[in-house]
């Protein structure tokens, strides 16, 4: 009888100690910015002197997604090209135009980014005041000389997407 009682008490105590064990899962949420290249732009060649990412010119605009984990911690800057990073030898000047616009947004209020953007030189700056994803569309056009034909070869230009902590 004594042995049985002791066994029961022992089991109760062991069950009690099992209940006391904690298994915490911890995590940290911190401000974070991620830059994702969804589509690299492609230049179309609609005219002998022109390269353009506009779909009507046979090109593809670059699409860049920026994810912001916490609101109001970052600014983003997009620099559209004003020179080729690689090209055949060019003997005349190239006139560059380009722009960055807000495409799709994950939070409706992000649409306001477009009206609030700041543009200078070939840079467009956005204040990321909300958490979520924003898709930016960058376009670029290069016109060679005074309507001179571009030499045959491959042309590459660079878009710089930046996320800077405020």
């Amino acid at each position: 009888m004594k042995i049985k009682t002791l066994t029961v008490i022992g089991l109760m105590l062991s069950a009690g100690s099992a209940l006391a064990i904690d298994s915490p899962i911890s995590g940290t949420v911190q401000p974070k910015c991620s830059i994702w290249t969804e589509t690299s732009g492609v230049y179309g060649h609609p005219l002998p002197y022109k390269l353009s990412t506009t779909p009507a010119d046979g090109g593809v605009k670059a699409s860049i997604r920026v994810d912001i984990a916490q609101a109001d911690y970052y600014k983003t800057k997009f620099t559209h090209p004003n020179s080729f990073s690689s090209s055949p030898t060019l003997t005349d000047s190239v006139a560059w135009t380009g722009s960055t616009v807000v495409g799709a947004v994950s939070v409706a209020a992000m649409s306001a980014y477009e009206a609030a953007k700041v543009t200078y030189n070939n840079v467009t700056e956005f204040d990321m005041t909300l958490a979520g994803s924003t898709w930016f569309t960058v376009s670029s056009t290069a016109s060679y000389g005074s309507t001179k034909s571009l030499p045959a070869g491959n042309y590459t230009a660079m878009i710089v997407a930046e996320c800077v902590a405020k």
């Binding site: 690299s40 947004v105 979520g132 590459t156 902590a165």
Partner: protein
Amino acid sequence: MCSKITIVIGFVLWALNVQAHEMTPAYPKLRPSYIKNVYITELKIFNRRTDVEYYSIDVFDNKWKPVAFASPNKVIRLKTNKYKTFEVYIRSIDVDKITYICTTSKLFKSKEQVTLVSSRICSKIKK
């Protein structure tokens, strides 16, 4: 309806979180290192870009002028879906002027007629 779908797709993509350049913390803090008159901070970079394998480290003041620094690797090799913690060492005489620590993706020369996208993320030193 369309905006709802966009929001849902946005959050799904956000949750999947693929192919990105990330760097944390946003506000790193400098602390004295084991070397006299040298401060240190640590940052973590995550490469989810499939088209990028190298990132360079740069340090700037508040006017975006480069500031001298030391790091075990000024260009980090980082394969896709890998992260790395790296240290940045700053001289104590530069501690007051250092403002930004940035990592920039390094791209390979392309043979196609494209626009390449270089990504740069900058953290701001907590003062």
